[in-house]
Assembly symmetry: C2
Homo-oligomer: 613 residues x 2
Amino acid sequence: MNDIDIESLKGIANQLRIHSISATTAAGSGHPTSCCSAADLVAALFFGHMRYDPKNPHYWNNDRFILSKGHAAPLLYAAWAEAGLIPTEELLKLRQLGSDLEGHPTPRLAFVDVATGSLGQGLSVGVGMALCARLDHLDYRTYVLLGDGECAEGAVWEAASLAGIHQLNNLVAVVDVNRLGQSQPTAFGHDLNVYKRRFEAFGWRTEEIDGHDIEEILEVLAAVGLGNQPLVILAKTLKGAGVSFIQDREGWHGRPLSKEEAARAIAELQPSAKSGLGHAISQPAQMPAPKNDAPASYPPLSYKIGESVATREAYGNALARMGEVDPRIVAMDGDTKNSTYAEKFFKKFPNRFTESFIAEQSMVGVATGFGARGKVPFVSTFACFLSRAFDQIRVAGISMANLKLTGSHVGVSIGEDGPSQMGLEDLAMTRATAGSTVLYPSDAVCAEKLVERMAEHRGICFLRTSRPRMPVIYNNDEQFTIGGAKVLRQSPGDKVTVVAAGVTLFEALKAADELKGQGIGVTVIDAYSIKPLAKDVIQSAASRTNNQVITVEDHYAEGGLGDAVAGELSALGMAVHKLAVRELPHSGKAEELLAKYGIDAAAIVAKVKSLNS
Amino acid sequence: MNDIDIESLKGIANQLRIHSISATTAAGSGHPTSCCSAADLVAALFFGHMRYDPKNPHYWNNDRFILSKGHAAPLLYAAWAEAGLIPTEELLKLRQLGSDLEGHPTPRLAFVDVATGSLGQGLSVGVGMALCARLDHLDYRTYVLLGDGECAEGAVWEAASLAGIHQLNNLVAVVDVNRLGQSQPTAFGHDLNVYKRRFEAFGWRTEEIDGHDIEEILEVLAAVGLGNQPLVILAKTLKGAGVSFIQDREGWHGRPLSKEEAARAIAELQPSAKSGLGHAISQPAQMPAPKNDAPASYPPLSYKIGESVATREAYGNALARMGEVDPRIVAMDGDTKNSTYAEKFFKKFPNRFTESFIAEQSMVGVATGFGARGKVPFVSTFACFLSRAFDQIRVAGISMANLKLTGSHVGVSIGEDGPSQMGLEDLAMTRATAGSTVLYPSDAVCAEKLVERMAEHRGICFLRTSRPRMPVIYNNDEQFTIGGAKVLRQSPGDKVTVVAAGVTLFEALKAADELKGQGIGVTVIDAYSIKPLAKDVIQSAASRTNNQVITVEDHYAEGGLGDAVAGELSALGMAVHKLAVRELPHSGKAEELLAKYGIDAAAIVAKVKSLNS
């Protein structure tokens, strides 16, 4: 690159600074100084290095760019505006309700693959994209821009470790080491060597540069892809760089300039600013599209009624079965694949499986990355350990990600391992995720069919599987839909509707049989779709049982099935009585624990009788 | 230490192995091979190095031991049995409902400070304890035994970084590098050098040893406390060590030996086994007890009715005020202290404040550690970022920890920063935590009083604070209790009871005023205690408004205030109508967003009218 180009990039960087300052001042909020520190890096990446079609940000072989330090959103928006995708006037609508140029990036914008703004998450998504490039034989590279402050997040090191293990030389992290956090300087200031030693220990090639020296930036970028390690560029920068009176000063995080200050800043920057419009951008190689077509149908099931199968095993069976015809399916697990049965998929399709080791945050991030590249990623671990990745799941909701989560070993029915291994809050967590679908099968047929529905449905789906083997109760051709429910027992004169799912469904059926012998009729519903809930089915049944409903769940009383049913039906004045785990459980045998915590057949019988006394 | 002692420790290690194998075989489940790899390390620590009173595990200057690899619980139980605290016969009750020797350790046992079993959490708790030792001028040391597999967890590196920053030379991590995970070998096998480079990069002194060589273990332990860095001992071990037919073999994770196999194993171990009973254990120095007394009362408040104060700011005011008289209070924040207002405490009591940087998992773990040492730790960050630490919070529930969490910037009322910064699932998350208390103040007086109640109440408490400034509505001497609620508007003939909290309380009051003008009476309740909920207050009010209740919350519709109220009242046949955020929100102005997502005064008015039409 010649001197003229270097000067152009310097000019574009200042233009990006001007946009960032103008937009945040117009909005009256935002993070202009965090934009300024990274402006030279972004200018060099977008206008001097990355290969992408700026008119078609979704093109499959475009280099990917993830702004992990999402609060620098105005800089990202400015870069795409200067690349010609959006009019620069739009930038002044930053943070307005009527504009998708939100405070932090979301995929409401075509050029944003995943939402960022909760720090430390971008790198794992980048790992997923880089792994996906390999799987799809595409040569795009993935660039992740991080702040130095977010390198305190463990999630960064989970991702860094996995990238090192996989020798992802198509992944580049750029750390904008501007030394200043939100409330004080970072722990390591401008000591790049700390970051260097850390990334090297995690298997990365490192380059230390002056993040405001365009030539130096381009020089290290020119060596991207060399060797067999991921590359991290450690860029020493100044927060607010380019503006004399805010540069490298504390107290300027998340603070827009006043109109007067902005004018002063722009006066400093304007003389050397240059538009990026018309600047040549490297084009990506044209390569065959990845095979991401959904199959017409999945192979049939072959369970026998009464056969004893755990839903967690059915999950593994489903993945292995569906993987044969659905090339989009990839899977991940956090060193529990022999318990979640993801192993069945791994053994059949090892190149479509990523072992995440015991690092659930990175696992969910990697899956989100695969999903953003057109795959259907299935993630599994014990349900309780998905709580480790709740922030990643939450942000995947904001990303409107196509992400399939399976949590096994739910509830007290896991038995002896004790409370630390029991998923008792997973329904609360996954229900409270934006746009989520929450499914909870009781038998193997239902589990497998729901895995099919998950693959078909675009969005975040959570499947709750159980440890114990349970009898198959549905025929292989039974249909299950998102938002559905099955009425398994119903007779005229039933006194109560019992709504259950998973292991408690079998307790409900036992209770119904026992009560029938005593002349008390009970309607039993399998609420396998927790969100959306089959409100109409439950309401219709309840209306025939004197508006009396009992819910039974192997989950805490808060935020689970009971709350879901009560939250829907109580507006109708129906009475919902919750049976759920109401105290910290203990180790013990599964059946002992179901009894002790009041969610077994005996507890249901007692509750039904109390309502009829 | 002489040769006789070395031989004794070797014998004790084998005795611990025998107990671990016997107990898991008796239980029919558990992780004997994970015990065997660490048996020599534990024998050396408990019987040749650590200073503690085995009859009084709570003594304040005992060295602390955290079994981060909690699945080796039988080994821990065996060590305490051989140290004389519990009868060795008890060990065979492992995992039974009637015994507190659970599958993974919990503080139901006096010698367990915090629950473990969700991997990667022990080190951050250890950091908290080590920091607390300094604060309390005690010379106890904190030892954390980790597995190699769990070093994939980012939480380990968050904690490692903080320990390095604080130069915690009173903290010792021991990594049992047995090379085998649950479902496959770890990524790095026996390559100790990988771990060595990582810990060194994070500021630790490292020692690499043969984890089965008692002399070598004792030798490196003898140098504990030297220098100004935390120490990690990287111990190369064999899973199942000591038993020829399981040692270093795959497929033996989480698998007890059959009775026959156990007999063979014990026959191998017995000849060299030796009881620890009667073995000398180093005593801790007698030092003055830390000052952890609760104050008789807290200084009074001095707000003015109508004054505009954000509840987040009131939180900071409360901490600073209470800290004067309550030496137990310590605080942490994740580089948001200028937004959460924890800064007010930090400025006044810098030595009682730990800046956790952007590492929420470690922050909660550190706080749990302080809590386990008698402090009252207050943790703050944006509510949405507490989701990053949900697994730590979940496990703190199992630890029955004394932990105070404050999540600021909740709901769409934060405005322009957008959804990634909005806490919209925090009520669902914290309600579904075992033993939790969930509080949500609307004004500054309520917020401050609730911080007092949190300090007084032993257990996990969550305070939900808001970004906007709101008028003070309560007098300084108003009383607030956990489980309470305030009826703010009530008249004979009221049509509906509106239950709100936080910013929506002000919307409810506005709506009530507007409706009053139209001749429609509305009861308004401030439900500042979400869990436990003031069911009686709400029920009593609702019974006077035709059993019609509207809930309004700046939270997703799932698992929050609406579900809490519906879950309690629906069993009584009362109708609960939820107003909540039902879609992924957008950036915008706070008042625009309250309107757009249907939780403002206008939405309440419309809902009330729809119920009365």
